[in-house]
C-alpha cells in the first residue's frame, strides 16, 4: 500500500498534531454522534493541543472537560457508546491507560463478546505515548503490548501526519473500541496531508522503502529513526526493506511475512521494553510463517528492561535511536560495524 492516494482536494503540509485536529473536526462535522471528553480537552484544547478549537467550533456539549478520573472517563465513553453515541475519550498520557485498565480491558473490550454480540462499541480512546521528553517513568511509556494482548481492542500508532489523519478517521468510524496512540515527540513533524477526509485502513502496514537485504519492522517514532539508520547503512551497501506497521492490533501479517520471505532477515524495532514487547510476538509469527526462509534469528532493537529514566543523559541511552538500530541490523546481517 502506498503512502498517498489520489485525492480530489489539495494536499498540503500539516503537522502530526494538525492532522489529528483536522481529522477530528471533519469527522465531527459529518457525524453529530461524535463527541469528545477528557482532561483539559475543552477550552484548553488538551495539554498537547490535539483538541485546540474543537470546543469553540462544536460547543461544550460535544467537547468537554472531565474530572481527573481515568476509569470514569473510559466508562463514560463505554456507556455512551453502548447507548448509541460514537465517543472519543482522551487519556492524556499513555501511562494513564493503566489507571483505566479495568474499564478498557474488562469492560469496553469484552462487552460485545460477553453479551453474545448484542452490543456495539464505537469507542475511540486517544492517548499520547513515547519517551524522549525527560518526562520520566510515569509519563513516557509505550504500553502497546498490554493493549494488544486484549481481544476486542484495536490499536494504532501512526508515524506520519498522513497516517494520523487517516487512522484517526478510521478509528472513530470503527464500530469497535480502538486506541489511537500519538507519539509525543512527533507532534510537530510535518508531512503531506490531503484536505479531504479519508481513511487509512486499520490493520494495514505500509512499506516506507523497499530493499533486499533485510526487513526492518517499526512503528511510531521508530519509523523515521529506522529510515535514518537505513540511510547510513546504504552507504555500507546494505539495502533495507522498511515496514511501518501503523496498526499494532491487528498486525499486518501478510506484509511482514511477504517481506521476510524475500529478504530472509528481519529486525523489529520499538520504543517499548524488549521483554514481552511486540517484537517477541512478531518474531514468533515470523518463525511460524517464514521459518524456512530465515537466514538468521529475528533481531530486536528495543528499550532495556527498566523504567524510563528522567535525565536526558540516561534517556538517550534508553530509547533506541538510529545508531542502535543500525547496530541491530548489522548484527542480524552478521556484518561488522564500520571501522571495527
Amino acid at each position: 500500500m502506498t503512502a498517498t492516494v489520489e485525492t480530489a482536494t489539495e494536499t498540503r503540509e500539516l503537522t502530526y498534531l494538525g492532522a489529528f485536529n483536522e481529522a477530528l473536526r471533519q469527522v465531527m462535522r459529518e457525524d453529530p454522534d461524535v463527541l469528545v471528553a477528557g482532561e483539559d480537552v475543552g477550552k484548553a484544547g488538551g495539554v498537547f493541543g490535539h483538541f485546540t478549537g474543537i470546543a469553540e467550533e462544536f460547543g461544550d456539549r460535544r467537547c468537554f472537560d472531565t474530572p481527573i478520573a481515568e476509569q470514569a472517563i473510559v466508562g463514560l465513553g463505554t456507556g455512551a457508546a453502548v447507548a448509541g453515541l460514537r465517543p472519543v475519550v482522551d487519556l492524556m498520557f499513555m501511562d494513564f491507560v493503566l489507571v483505566a485498565m479495568d474499564q478498557i480491558a474488562n469492560q469496553a473490550a469484552k462487552l460485545k463478546y460477553m453479551f453474545g454480540g448484542k452490543a456495539t462499541l464505537p469507542l475511540t480512546i486517544t492517548t499520547s505515548g513515547g519517551a524522549g521528553l525527560s518526562a520520566a517513568a510515569q509519563h513516557s511509556q509505550s504500553l502497546e503490548a498490554l493493549l494488544c494482548h486484549i481481544p476486542g481492542l484495536k490499536v494504532v500508532m501512526p508515524s506520519t501526519p498522513y497516517d494520523v489523519k487517516g487512522l484517526l478517521t478510521a478509528c472513530i468510524r470503527d464500530d469497535n473500541p480502538t486506541v489511537f496512540v500519538s507519539n509525543k515527540r512527533m507532534l510537530g513533524v510535518k508531512g503531506p496531508v490531503p484536505e479531504e477526509l479519508y481513511e487509512v485502513p486499520i490493520g494495514s502496514a505500509h512499506t516506507v522503502q523497499s530493499g533486499d537485504d533485510i526487513t526492518v519492522i517499526a512503528y511510531g517514532r521508530m519509523v523515521p529513526e529506522s529510515v535514518a539508520a537505513a540511510k547510513k547503512l546504504a552507504e555500507e551497501g546494505i539495502s533495507c526493506d522498511i515496514i511501518d506497521l501503523r496498526t499494532v492490533q491487528p498486525i499486518d501479517l501478510d506484509a511482514i511475512t511477504a517481506s521476510a520471505r524475500r529478504t530472509n532477515r528481519v529486525v523489529v524495532v520499538h520504543e517499548a521494553v524488549r521483554f514481552g514487547g511486540l517484537g517477541a510476538e512478531i518474531a514468533s509469527q515470523i518463525t511460524e510463517h517464514a521459518f524456512d526462509y530465515l537466514d538468521a534469528p529475528v533481531g530486536r532493537v528495543a528499550a532495556p528492561f527498566s523504567p524510563v529514566p528522567f535525565s536526558p543523559h540516561l534517556e538517550s541511552h534508553y530509547v533506541p535511536d538510529k545508531h542502535r538500530i543500525a547496530d541491530g541490523i548489522r548484527e542480524t546481517l552478521g556484518r561488522p560495524a564500520p571501522g571495527s
Binding site: 456507556g79 455512551a80 469492560q107 460485545k112 460477553m114 453479551f115
Partner: protein, 327 residues
Amino acid sequence: MEPTPEILQELHHRMVRIRKFEEAAGRLAEAGRLPGFLHLYVGEEAVASGVCVALTDEDQISSTHRGHGHLVAKGGDFNKMMAELMGKATGYCNGKGGSMHISDLDLGMLGANGIVGGGVPIAVGAGLANQYKDNGNVSVVFFGDGASNIGAFHEAANMAAALKLPVVFVCENNEYGEYTPREATMAITDVVDRAAGYGMPGVIVDGMDAVAVYEAMVEAVARARAGQGPSFLECKTYRFYNHHGVQVLGMKYRSDEELEAWKKRDPIDLLEARMAEMGLMDAEAAAAVHARVESEIEAAIQFAEDSPAPDPATLLDDVYTLAGGAA
C-alpha cells in the same frame, strides 16, 4: 405518592418472579446442572422491583455480580435467562456470558458485571448519551455497599454529579461485601453519607419494603428527568443466601440469628400482608401468582435443557464487530 393497586400488583409480581427464578437456579446449581458461579438475589427483591417498576423500557440499568434479579425486574425473559445460565446457544448471550454477564440491551439492561463497581461508570456513560440525545431517559446504577469502596464508584459518582447527568445511584446495602461485614471495611454506617461528598441528594430507604423503594425511586427519577442531576438511594437490605452458591445457614461470617431476624421481614411477605390488609390480595390470589410463575419457570428450565449447546464454530464470533455491520 401512594402507589396504585396496579403498581402494587406489579411490584408483587416482579418480586415473586425474581424469588422463584433464583430458587430454581439454586436448586439447579445444587444438582450440578449449572456451570460456573451463582450469586443469588433472594432477600433483596424489593430493591430491584421497586426501582424497575419506576422505570420505562428505554431507561437503562447497570448491574452487579448479583444480576439475575435486576434483569427479571427489568422484564427479562425466563427462557433466555435460564438458557444463558446453562450455557446454551439460545441464552441471552448465546452462552458467552453466563450468570455474571447476563444482559438484555433491548430492555436497557447493560449487563451484570463480574468486576465489583465495574458497571458504575458504564451507567454514567449511558447517562451522558441520554443527556446528549435529550431523550428523557434515565440510567440507574445498582451497586452494593462493598462496591462503594472501590475507585470506579467514586470517580463515576463525582463525574455524574459534575456533568449533572440523569443517573440514579441505587446502593443495595446488604451489610456484607462478599464475606466481610460492612463495619470492617468502612468507618461509616450509612453508605448514603458518601452522596453529600459529591453534592448529590441521598436518602435511606427500607430495602425490604418495595413500596418505599418505589416511592423514593419515583422522586429520584423525576429529578433526573427534569435535568436536575443524579441522586442516591441507599436501600438497607439483606441476602438470604450466601454471597456465592446456595448455603443459607451455618455460615462463619454471619449468625443464623441475624439471618432469621431479617427473614422475618421478607419483602414478599411484607407486601402480601400490606395488600391483604388493603383488600387487594388474599392468600389464595397470592398463591395463584406463585403457582403461575412457578409453571413459567418449569417451562423455562425445560426450554433451556432442550436447547442446543453453542456450536464450537461460534467460539470466535463477536470478539469484534466486522466492517459493514455484520457481526
